[in-house]
């Protein structure tokens, strides 16, 4: 399956490195299960410019988290990287050994996970976990470690006295923010976030997002933000990628994708979140369920649920088409027909 030409958007942000931070080409991940091979991520390609905020959205099981861990080389059995390349600042991570990866990890590229209660070691203090990360990368002076730990906690608005706290002693929001603080320890070039706000209430979600955006503008790192909440991320992201059934369905500048979605799935997602200020519309969902990725359908993977499906959609695989400034995996878009028709 060939992709169209991928785009490098000039977002005008003051990035810290020249050239893209990430260049992903044809990344594929599969799982070995009793039922056969499940192709969880199939031939995903995109670039990420320095300092750019990319949101990846999709429903549960679409492969977005798998994609993230595939990029970070953090897959665990039975998931296996099936192919493709991950060029991080010019180096292909796929070919590196654990040892070589270790020197890049956290210093240039860090990770924030969904539930801090699960992602933080319950038997170690926050401070000890910060220290672990720093010691692993050669920072040995106790003074330096303490100074930096205090600094990052202040950045996220947490009293440094909590360095001595255990994860279960902090509130949910504080835990999440301390995880973000931990990710800032070496001011990396890329921070990957896997649904960091999903475990929080709405108010905490919003304030956390604002905090993240502020940090990004201060320190200039790129962000990949995986979530199922399209409306939340679209307020903050530069570009938006919609995933469906392991593939990229739509990819482009946030405003373009959000205001005029060209893939029927993206449109369906947006329609499911009516605007609170807009006119009253009947609630719609997307009927049906995602395909079984052990036996994906022949043609377009969204065809069984698509309200605008045509016969030709079911015949063969669909490639990504270039429409104005977005990429869309839809035959209608390929003909210059917008999904609004």
């Amino acid at each position: 399956m060939r992709t169209g030409q991928t785009e490098r958007l000039d977002t005008g942000l003051a990035g810290r490195t020249s050239g893209p931070v990430l260049e992903i080409r044809d990344l594929s991940v599969s799982y070995q299960t009793k039922r056969g091979t499940v192709r969880a991520v199939e031939d995903v390609s995109f670039d990420l410019a320095s300092g750019e905020f990319l949101g990846i959205v999709g429903e549960s099981g679409c492969g977005k988290s798998t994609l993230l861990f595939g990029i970070a080389q953090l897959l665990s059995a039975p998931a296996v990287l099936d192919g493709g390349s991950v060029m991080f600042e010019g180096v292909n991570l796929v070919n590196l050994s654990e040892h070589q990866l270790a020197s890049i990890r956290w210093k240039k590229m860090s990770l924030v996970m969904q539930s801090a209660m699960n992602a933080l070691n319950p038997v170690k203090t926050i401070g000890a976990q910060f220290t672990d990360a720093m010691r692993a990368h050669g920072v040995s002076s106790k003074a330096e470690i303490t100074e930096r730990s205090v600094e990052v906690l202040r950045m996220v608005g947490i009293d440094p006295v909590h360095l001595r706290s255990y994860p279960h002693q902090l509130s949910g929001g504080m835990r999440q923010r301390s995880m973000i603080a931990m990710a800032m320890l070496f001011t990396p070039d890329l921070v990957m976030m896997d649904e960091p706000t999903s475990a929080l209430d709405v108010v905490a979600q919003r304030s956390l997002m604002v905090q993240i955006k502020e940090l990004q503008q201060q320190l200039g790192f790129a962000i990949i933000f995986v979530t199922h909440d399209m409306s939340l991320v679209s307020h903050f992201s530069d570009r938006l990628m919609v995933m469906y059934a392991g593939q990229v369905a739509e990819l482009g500048a946030t405003r373009s994708v959000f205001d005029t979605p060209r893939h029927p799935y993206s449109a369906g997602l947006l329609d499911a979140f009516p605007s609170i200020r807009g006119p009253k519309v009947p609630l719609t969902g997307i009927p049906g369920s995602p395909p079984d990725l052990a036996r994906p359908p022949q043609g377009c993977r969204f065809a069984p649920r698509c309200p605008k499906v045509q016969d030709r959609c079911k015949t063969g695989p669909v490639q990504l088409y270039h429409v104005e400034d977005v990429l869309v995996r839809c035959l209608r878009a390929g003909n210059g027909v917008s999904s609004g028709d």
């Binding site: 970070a72 654990e98 990866l101 956290w106 210093k107 860090s110 990770l111 070691n121 319950p122 038997v123």
Partner: protein, 327 residues
């Protein structure tokens, strides 16, 4: 701290329950066993001794149950465990004192060794999943933990004792020697305890290995392990500091259960090897229907188990900060 207080309270409460159980059991049995005992020893003990037995077991006394109970408790607290019938007129406490160190040494050391070794092997097995260690471990150790302790003991006696003459297999020390704190005596004791220790080790280690492996596998799938990888930590640090430290916690609480089993197995092992520790004493008391000695031994064994459990709880409180917070 509340956690420890609760465990200490449980300790005291259970202790009380066992003491009471010990008191009630002979009195609940159909036909107080002490009566049969009295008949058996009738011509052979002085009337004073017989009277003592009657009082201890509540036969023919005018006291009601409650006051018997009180005097029973009083006796216990003052260390009066009665007089042994097999070793008459030696008091039970003296008899026990002679045997307790051997059992403590054998069972205590072997249990700790089995736990440590088993845990380490379990960690290794989980770390290298799909390797040869992981495929052999489970079936082999599942089978070895089902084998009776005494059978392993017998096998060891046969192979290493009788056939190869490598190790002695009878008694805790050479009967011609008398116990003393000399190196040669202690060395003799150690040599005599090798085969019984191996028997206990072989059968009990399987359980530790398997449970540790299983909890490690579950722990390795946790998010914080993934996070540790993402931070670029070394494999060794992840394995011990992040995975094992969390995986061992359920094992520690399982330790409480297993101590009871190990003690049970130790009784049989001592019997097979004629190893004169508490277990052997228990069987001797059994044969001779020496109820005072039996009761005291049962109580002692129970107390030892409770103490071991309390220690495991203390260690858990040290390792797991979540237990230390108010609940």
């Amino acid at each position: 701290m509340r956690f420890l207080l609760r465990r200490a309270a449980f300790f005291v409460l259970t202790l009380w329950a066992c003491v009471t159980l010990n008191f009630l059991l002979p009195r609940l049995m159909p036909g107080n066993p002490a009566i049969a005992l009295l008949a058996k020893f009738h011509g052979r003990l002085s009337p004073v001794a017989l009277k003592a037995i009657e009082i201890a077991f509540g036969v023919n006394t005018n006291q009601n149950l409650a006051s018997q109970y009180v005097s029973y408790l009083h006796d216990l607290l003052t260390g009066n465990l009665g007089t042994s019938l097999t070793f008459f007129p030696t008091p039970v406490s003296v008899v026990i004192r002679g045997a307790i160190l051997y059992t403590l040494g054998l069972v205590g050391v072997t249990t700790i060794l089995a736990f440590i070794l088993g845990t380490l092997i379990g960690i290794l097995g989980a770390w290298r999943r799909g390797g040869w260690l992981d495929s052999i471990l489970p079936p082999v150790f599942v089978i070895t933990s089902a084998i009776p302790y005494f059978w392993v003991g017998m096998l060891l006696i046969l192979v290493f004792g009788i056939q190869l003459h490598w190790f002695p297999y009878d008694f805790a020390y050479d009967p011609s020697l008398s116990p003393s704190l000399t190196f040669s005596f202690i060395g003799n004791v150690i040599v005599h305890s090798i085969l019984p220790a191996i028997a206990i080790l072989i059968t009990s280690i399987g359980g530790w290995i398997l449970t540790m492996r299983n909890t490690m596998i579950t722990t390795l799938a946790e998010d914080y392990v993934k996070m540790a990888r993402a931070k670029g930590l070394s494999s060794r640090r992840i394995m011990f500091d992040y995975a094992a430290r969390n995986a061992i916690l359920p094992n520690l609480s399982g330790f409480a259960m297993s101590v009871g089993f190990i003690v049970s197995g130790a009784v049989l092992v001592e019997f097979v090897f004629n190893y004169n520790g508490l277990g052997y004493l228990l069987v001797q008391a059994l044969d001779a229907e020496d109820y005072p000695l039996m009761q005291a031994l049962f109580l002692l064994i129970t107390v030892a188990v409770l103490i071991a459990i309390l220690l495991a709880d203390i260690i858990t409180a040290i390792l797991d900060p979540r237990t230390r917070s108010a609940r």
